[in-house]
Each structure stands twice: as C-alpha cells, then as structure tokens.
Symmetry: C2
Subunit: 231 residues, 2 copies
DNA sequence: TCAAAAGTGTTCATTGTACACCCATGT
DNA sequence: ACATGGGTGTACAATGAACACTTTTGA
C-alpha cells in the first residue's frame, strides 16, 4: 500500500502568492495594500497578490507581483508561510503562499499608487483586510521582528544614508517600545557594521545628525547571525 | 488594470505535503523515511508525504499523512516552508508544503515500519533522499534548533519520564556540540518547569539517575517564550 | 538666548562560561 | 574495591539595563 496517491488521480489547486510589503516612514511601519479589483470583496483592502502560473516557480510568482507593484527589481523578500484552509477564500479553493518584502519608502514611485489603487496603511488599520490577510500580516510581522533581532535586515527599510536616530525609530516601531538612546547607540556601533559619513542630516535639528551607511563588508558579517538590536 | 488574474483562467497545481518526522534515540536524532513506492525514483528513500485533497486543508493533509504512518493522533507538528520550483519533482509540477513532527521513539509502533517499508535513518544519511528532500530536512532542522532554543518543544522527542542526562544528550544532538553538565543542569532546573520524581532510571548506571517530568503548569510558562537551552 | 534634537559614560544586575571532584551502587 | 555514570558550586567575564547632562546651532 502506497502513501502517495498517484499523480494523475490527485486534485489540483489554484495557488496564490500574497505579498506583505513593509515600508517605514515617519516613525511608523506601513503596509502596502490595494483595493481588490475582483469579486468577492471587490473594493476592500487586500494584500497584493496573484496566482502562480505553470511556467514560473512560486518564488518567481512573488517576484513578478512585487516587481509589478513596486517597480523595484531586487527587494528584500522572504517566504513567510502557506495558508491552506478550505474556505479561506470564499469564492474558490485557493492555497496561498506569503512573502514579506522590505522597502525604503523614499524609493517608492508614487505614480504606482494611483495606477494600482494602492495605499500605504499603518499596521493599526490591518483589521479591514480581506480573508485571512490580517493573520498573514501578523505572521509576517512576527517573522520580521525575529529576523531583525538576529540579522541586519532592518536596513532594507531605510534609505542608503540614515541617522542613528532614524535607525532607532525603526527598531522602536518594530518592537513597539521605546529604547534607551545611549544603550542603542552603544550596541549598534559595537557591531562595527556602520560607517559614519562626514555629512549631516539637518532636516530635523539645528545641530544636525551624522549620516551612517552600512559598511562595505557588512555582508560577510551578516552570516555570523549574531546581531541583536533587541532590548 | 488588475493585479490578480481571474480565478477561472489561472493554472492549477498538484499540492503535496511532505513530513519531516524526527525521533531521538541512542544520543542521535533520526529521521523517518520510507522507500518510495511509485515512479520516478521508485525504491529510493523519501520523506513521507501525500497529495492534498479538495476536501481537506493543507494542515489536515499533513495530519492525515502523519497519522497514517505513526498511528499517533496528536503529535507535535509545525509548518516549515513551501517548495515551488518548477522541476523539483521531475515527473510533474508539484508544489510541496513541509511540516516537521517530533516523536518519542519509544512510543513508535515498529509494525508500521515493515508495513510501509519505512526506516529511521540518522541525519548523516540524508544525502540519499530524493528530489529536494534533503533541503527540506535541513530547513526543518534549522527551524527545530531555533524553536528548541526558545521553547521547550524538545520534550516531544523524549519519553514522559526522562533523566537530565537524556535531556542533555538530546540538546547535544540538536546542536551538535558538547554541553557542560553543571551549566546545563543549572539552567534547565532554573526554568522551574521540571518535577523530579522519586523514581530512578537504573538502566545506565549503578547509582541510577532521577527521572523528571514536565511540571503540570509548564504549559502556561511555555507562552513566555523565554526558554533557552542553547550554549 | 533659547529651543530642539544630537551626542556621550558609568554603575549595577543578570547571565553565561569555564572548570574538578565526590557520590552511590552493583558486580 | 573499583568502575561507571550521577550529581554538585564557585569565580570570572560578558552582556544588558538604568540613568542625566552637555553640545550645537538656526531662528
């Protein structure tokens, strides 16, 4: 007796990818959503997604969807989980694989927002999302927090040049708690993955804050898996 | 212009579940495999798996497969990842969702091994697995390590009553490194989730080692997410 | 000159890590 | 009596957390 059914007699399914695209601005983490264009739940806010096609891998499907909606080629992307409840989409049986992506909002092309009826919403407004999309966001956020406490992936949410204050604000937004400025700076600087530039950011103070960049060799250090910005 | 294709025009896929079943015995972590019963790769070692059916969720499919091969109703199970490369199964396009499960080998019904041509193999023999199953095992093992360092899930691999030496051996097998006996015991006992029984295990020494059990209220503490057995 | 954000060190508590000997008992 | 695995404590290092004031400068 075989564990596997034979291929030919087995059921086939629509497989979707849904992308949880996080951005960071104004001390707040935002989520890219769009107004769903088809029934059911037409017009309601939804994650961006699409169906996997026969001629592409699941990951390529996610890249296709992300590229279409952000115009960005190589954004940070990672698989989160797969959702397979029978009636999660009331219109049809759809199994959905989610990916999260991190984006620097300054790079984002505003024109795309109007073209796709898309919108950056704060995480607090996720309740309105259709189907199980809120659960998907929660799971992605949990993964993002875990990853960000162990790896330096948070930088994907910031511009290339950023201040330590910005970086701290990002981690405060990720963990929803205030961090001590001195401890935070001590810690990130001790990692020795940042280069201080001579240039200052004078947009937010008269004194100005030094810009920093990820150092050229931070990639090698990334593999050590030892970064932790968590309290 | 819509991001989503319409449901009806989209491609459909075979969706499989593959289960990475870990057991622990003799200071070694083992993996439950079986001899694949159908072509391609018939006779080669494979993870246990099966195709998702229309009338069940993906998770229920995994439970069905696990129950069939272990006879156990409620074993510890967790989704790992989804594998969606186009030619990962050379015979057909199959998207596979993996789950890992933890099992106490003492509970395992040997009869099932012969019935399904199944076999417990050490992790070192995973190279022989078909398709991308070795990658699946590697990913599951990474998740197991991460989880075990943060949560008390490792106990699912041990009998109800176990000695601290057994527990230490398990963690040494998980992390592939020797742990200091004094430090290990200090740490696990400080968690206050173990009850020492009056009974001793005399199978391995003349002196005998006390048996321990998870304390009744460990479940509540589990939620604190603060356990760490890692070095 | 003052408002507003940037920047900076020390102390203490907790946790992690290294390390070596005695105990109990069946044969 | 001895071999075998079980069991215990201490000292040092590293990390985490709490905490308040000075600097800069444009308006």
């Amino acid at each position: 007796m075989s564990i596997l059914n034979t291929y030919s007699h087995s059921d086939r399914f629509l497989v979707a990818v849904d992308c949880i695209v996080f951005g960071f601005t104004n001390k707040e983490i935002r989520l890219l959503t769009f107004k769903r264009a088809i029934e059911p739940e037409k017009g309601k806010p939804s994650l961006i997604g699409g169906f996997v096609q026969s001629d592409e891998s699941v990951e390529d499907a996610a890249k296709r969807v992300l590229n279409k909606l952000t115009g960005i080629e190589n954004l940070y992307m990672e698989q989160v989980a797969t959702y397979g409840a029978i009636h999660r989409d009331p219109a049809a049986r759809v199994i959905s694989v989610t990916y999260f992506a991190l984006i620097n909002l300054e790079d984002y092309d505003e024109e795309l927002l109007t073209r796709y009826d898309a919108k950056w919403i704060p995480l607090s407004e996720c309740q309105d999302l259709i189907f199980d999309h809120k659960q998907m966001v929660d799971d992605a956020m949990a993964l993002l927090r875990r990853k960000a406490s162990a790896f330096a992936i948070g930088f994907n949410l910031l511009p290339e040049k950023f201040t330590l204050t910005q970086l701290q604000s990002l981690y405060e937004a990720l963990y929803c708690e205030a961090l001590d400025k001195r401890n935070f700076r001590k810690k990130v600087l001790s990692l020795e993955i940042l280069n201080r530039l001579d240039e200052k950011d004078k947009r937010h103070s008269r004194k100005g804050a030094y810009f920093y960049m990820l150092s050229d060799d931070y990639q090698a250090k990334l593999k050590k898996e030892t970064y932790s910005f968590s309290k």
